[in-house]
């Protein structure tokens, strides 16, 4: 299956591209939003590159670029709410750092460390409801011994999950999320700190 990628300038996008190159899961097209630092990496993978000088999803140039793609499936590398009109154009794969039947929202990474000392990942198609899209794949990871959670652990595990999904579910067969999990967001700094302490203590060194 041919897949495109929407490159939002971020550590996560960079990590996705590095993993895709390393595992030879090349995107056939890419839309680079903003400054376009990832262009060389994409050219190395022979992807057709479209550059859009905007970092906003609600933008007519971004809309037109996505509409022009021949691929039906696009890897999403950003965060936040994706406008409805974009969701109507293509199917967007998003890697969510939590098992969506249990954990939804932006900080579930920390809550699952606090509660279970594990980190779940869900590959899903974006929908207009937060973390409620159809599920393509799930996996639960041990917590690595790295306290740089936001900038290293999160993008690394998401990138690994993306590759795992592209390898294990090549046709991207998905199923409906029957019962959405609780919504976790805006974690208090004290609880976040305790989660980081747990990573320092229990994290697994590979």
């Amino acid at each position: 299956m041919e897949i495109a990628i929407l490159v939002y300038p971020s550590i996560r996008a960079r990590k996705y591209l590095e993993y895709m190159k390393r595992h030879k899961k090349y995107p056939t097209s890419a839309i680079i939003m903003g400054s376009g630092e990832e262009e060389k990496l994409l050219r190395d993978m022979k992807a057709k590159v479209i550059k859009v000088p905007s970092k906003k999803f609600k933008n007519s140039m971004v809309y037109d670029a996505i509409k022009s793609l021949k691929e039906e499936v696009v890897i999403f590398t950003g965060g936040g709410i994706v406008p409805e009109e974009l969701l109507e154009l293509k199917r967007f794969i998003h890697i969510h750092p939590g098992i969506t039947s249990e954990y939804r929202g932006s900080t579930c990474f920390y809550y699952s460390i606090l509660k279970e000392n594990k980190i779940g990942m869900t590959a899903m198609f974006l929908s207009n409801k937060l973390d409620c899209g159809d599920i393509i794949n799930t996996h639960v990871y041990d917590v690595p011994n790295n306290i740089n959670i936001d900038n290293e652990v999160d993008p690394e595990l998401r990138a690994d999950m993306l590759i795992r999904t592209l390898k294990e579910n090549k046709n991207l067969v998905s199923k409906t999320l029957e019962k959405p999990g609780k919504n976790y967001y805006v974690i208090h700094p004290v609880l976040k700190h305790i989660a980081i302490l747990k990573v320092r203590k229990n994290g697994i060194t590979k």
Binding site: Y111, L114, K115, K182, N183, Y184, Y185, V186, I187, H188, P189, V190, L191, H193, I194, L197, K198, K201
Partner: protein
């Protein structure tokens, strides 16, 4: 700053900790003013079932007690998180001398401290450094 504190028992502030500690803690919590990503505390709390029947937001401390009870019953960290945020809010909006019921306020804070201490058990952590 150091305090000798037995975290397993909930003391009233006049019994044990005293006003100096409570004032320090209050001022510390004023300083945190935890981020809510641009939404109001009320909007944030609407995600919680137990907030849905709350008509007034005037008595934050009592609301915080309900969240702590819920955390104790269910072990769901979202409730402890909500209590921490309510009390940050309370401290940031008010002045120490305006707290109507200091005993109740201390009761809530000491419960929070107990739970946090338990979460850190086995870790080589100075709880007071974490909290201050």
């Amino acid at each position: 700053m150091s305090y000798d504190y037995d975290g397993e028992k909930t003391y009233s502030y006049s019994e044990f900790i005293g006003e100096d500690f409570l004032r320090d803690y209050f001022n510390y919590r004023r300083g945190i003013m935890s981020r809510l990503n641009g939404i109001s505390l009320e909007d944030y709390l609407r995600n919680y079932e137990i907030f849905k029947d709350v008509k007034s937001f005037d008595n934050c401390v009592t609301l915080s007690v309900r969240f702590l009870d819920e955390y104790e019953d269910k072990g769901d960290f979202r409730y402890l998180n909500a209590s921490l945020k309510i009390n940050d809010y309370l401290c940031s909006k008010g002045r120490y001398h305006n707290i109507i019921d200091t005993q109740l306020f201390w009761y809530v804070l000491s419960r929070e401290i107990n739970y946090i201490k338990r979460l850190c058990e086995g870790d080589d952590v100075d709880i007071w450094k974490l909290l201050f």
